[in-house]
């Protein structure tokens, strides 16, 4: 019974936990959080099972309500989103474990509400990854965005303003998405992605695809913070609430990118007339994004802001893969999506831990912090090296696939930009490493001098990220094989 309903149960279990969390927190103050964490753990376990099933049996089509395909809502789990769901639930689980240390107000209402929103954010992300319906995607997008607005607004007085600005821009994006959905619905009369793809490929729909593309690129560009649309992102990532920042920064930007892939490659396909323009536009945006993000990150003194700008650059890597379009490059993009989630998540876990212990995020205060927090700094270093793209970490291999895809298509300029961007990354990440290991001790006062380096629940995420970065790096070929099960039929 569970095997047959895995796709939907992965989403429903955290949803139920979220809905009941407030009630349970009223009964016992720890019950609500425990239920949320357990629910996310359950969905992690189920997502791993699901990945196994998908690899063994091929894509799962799950029709909700048992209605025939274009009439009801359908979940389609192929090897791509099965992997992404595992990634989301892993990071969701470790952030749910980690976030509790940052709750300052422990009244049951607020504590329960906080856990509710974390669980709903995870639900929304999982839903975005699994759904096969255009309008359902919008609903999940809004759940994700609303909980993100709230979590960003919890990050102090700056956070409110950034959340408000993000809300305005994010709603524009959602509206543009709806306009594009309306155009596609108007042309095809269906909302199911597979059905839509079938209809679009059967006739001459090039103009409508071009037009909806014009709305989709800004929509997803805003949500994933690609270069000309990234305005909201640095301040939002900087001032987001500390406990959930890894989740927001690590995962939230990836799902719109994934949805973009679904639209451009699975629905529109690669043989419509304007696909070259699409790729060119995406390529220009991602190249600008990579250079601009890295250049801006170099000048920041606040580690959070530095990492936020670096996210702009890293999103550029992901969309660069879409701009190249061969299966290998797309696999590189997806590998980067997964790897970067752990890298950026890990970096923000470390930043949060440092802030939790010493109350600072200014880079100039980080002198020789490694003596006090060796494990944290170990992850910090590994994640930073991965960002730069030093083998054998995850970042190198995604770059390899992107570059080899670009070389196959003779996009030499993309290879040059990849090289330049990773050198710029090296500049600021080695600045970070220099601060952490070499500079003079700034004499920070430890708020929690007793006991081990960090509480156990904060160490777990750090260790998991560490293992994941190296693991993804070493076993990338297996992951790429799994990704190529689907991607092999999609790309150019």
């Amino acid at each position: 019974m569970i095997e047959n309903n895995l796709p939907v149960l992965i989403i429903i279990v955290p949803l139920c936990a979220a809905l009941l969390c407030l009630l349970l927190t009223g009964i016992n103050r720890h019950l609500g959080r425990a239920v949320v964490v357990l629910a996310v753990l359950a969905s992690l376990v189920m997502s791993v099972m699901q990945l196994g099933l998908v690899i063994k049996n091929g894509p799962i089509h799950y029709a909700i309500g048992n209605y025939k395909v274009p009439f009801g809502i359908e979940f389609v789990i192929d090897s791509l989103n099965a992997v992404i769901i595992v990634m989301i639930s892993t990071i969701g689980f470790i952030s749910a474990v980690y976030a509790d240390h940052f709750v300052t107000d422990r009244r049951p209402l607020l504590h329960g509400a906080y856990n509710t929103i974390i669980a709903l954010l995870i639900t929304g992300l999982l839903g975005m990854a699994s759904t096969g319906d255009v309008f359902n995607l919008y609903v999940f997008l809004e759940i994700t965005s609303l909980s993100a607005y709230c979590l960003i607004a919890l990050g102090g007085s700056r956070g409110i303003v950034s959340a408000y600005r993000y809300m305005l821009v994010g709603t524009i994006a959602a509206t543009f998405y709806l306009v594009a959905a309306a155009l596609l619905y108007g042309a095809t009369g269906t909302l199911n992605m597979d059905d839509m793809a079938k209809i679009l490929s059967s006739g001459d729909y090039d103009t409508v695809m071009l037009l909806s593309m014009c709305f989709l690129i800004p929509a997803f560009g805003i949500k994933m913070a690609l270069f000309p649309f990234h305005g909201w992102q640095p301040s939002a990532y900087t001032h987001a609430e500390a406990g959930t920042r890894p989740l927001i920064t690590g995962v939230m930007g990836k799902l719109p990118a994934y949805a973009m892939f679904r639209f451009f490659y699975c629905i529109f396909g690669t043989d419509f007339r304007y696909v070259r323009y699409l790729m060119l536009a995406l390529g220009v945006f991602s190249v600008c994004s990579m250079l601009y993000g890295s250049l801006m990150a170099m000048w920041q003194n606040d580690i959070r802001k530095m990492l936020a700008y670096s996210s702009v650059a890293q999103i550029g890597y992901i969309s660069l893969g879409f701009a190249i379009g061969t299966p290998i490059a797309l696999a590189g993009s997806f590998l980067h999506m997964i790897g970067h989630a752990f890298m950026k998540g890990g970096l923000f876990f470390c930043t949060g831990a440092i802030r939790y212990k010493f109350g600072t995020t200014d880079l100039n205060d980080f002198g020789r912090i490694y003596k006090k927090m060796p494990l944290t700094c170990g992850l910090l270093t590994v994640a930073a090296l991965s960002m730069i793209g030093i083998p054998p970490t995850a970042g190198f291999f995604s770059k390899w696939y992107l570059a080899s895809g670009a070389a196959d298509q003779h996009y030499w300029i993309y290879i040059a930009v990849l090289v330049i961007s990773s050198l710029l990354n090296a500049v600021y990440f080695f600045k970070l490493i220099e601060k952490v290991f070499i500079n003079e001790d700034a004499g920070l006062k430890d708020k929690w001098s007793r006991g081990p380096e960090l509480p156990l629940t904060m160490l777990i995420p750090i260790v998991v990220c560490f293992v994941a970065i190296l693991g993804i790096g070493l076993f990338n070929a297996k992951i790429v094989d799994v990704l190529l099960l689907t991607l092999g039929e999609v790309g150019l």
Binding site: M167, I172, T175, L178, Y185, L191
Partner: protein
């Protein structure tokens, strides 16, 4: 030529007006300096999209989508799907508005203003203050 324009207006004129409303909403969000107005414009923008969807489901001889005895053909009823979708969209927009308003309230309480340029100026002042305080603290530690 005139025929084309009039046909266009008859067949697609509503789209034109809807798109104008949509673009006015976006323009309002971008240009208005007042956060409250931006929020209202956001709502207007969402309403425009709802129109767009409803236009798609129009049928010139259709009646409202509640089954009546004697009317069996699909052409007799207006397409119910956009209505269902738009109910969801309206609710989502209400949710967004509620969150936006509570954010607005917090901004007003914290900064005393909801004008964007004023707010940014105050944030700038705030960060300058913070920097100075930090500098002073450092000096105190040194001495």
């Amino acid at each position: 030529m005139m025929i084309t324009i009039s046909t266009f207006l008859a067949e697609k004129g509503i789209y034109l007006l809807t798109f104008i409303l949509l673009s006015l909403g976006v323009a309002g969000i971008v240009t208005c300096n007042n956060y409250m107005k931006k929020l209202i414009c956001m709502n207007i923008m969402q309403v425009a999209v709802i129109f767009l969807f409803l236009c798609l489901g129009q049928k010139s001889k259709g009646t409202i989508p509640v089954a009546v005895e004697g009317l069996e053909k699909a052409a007799d009823y207006i397409n119910p799907l956009p209505h269902g979708l738009m109910l969801t969209a309206i609710v989502v927009s209400l949710g967004t508005t509620a969150v936006g308003l509570s954010l607005l309230l917090r901004i007003r309480e914290k900064y005393g203003t909801i004008e964007e340029d004023d707010l940014l100026m105050r944030q700038e002042l705030l960060s300058m203050e913070e920097r100075q305080r930090r500098k002073q603290e450092l000096q105190r530690i040194d001495t």
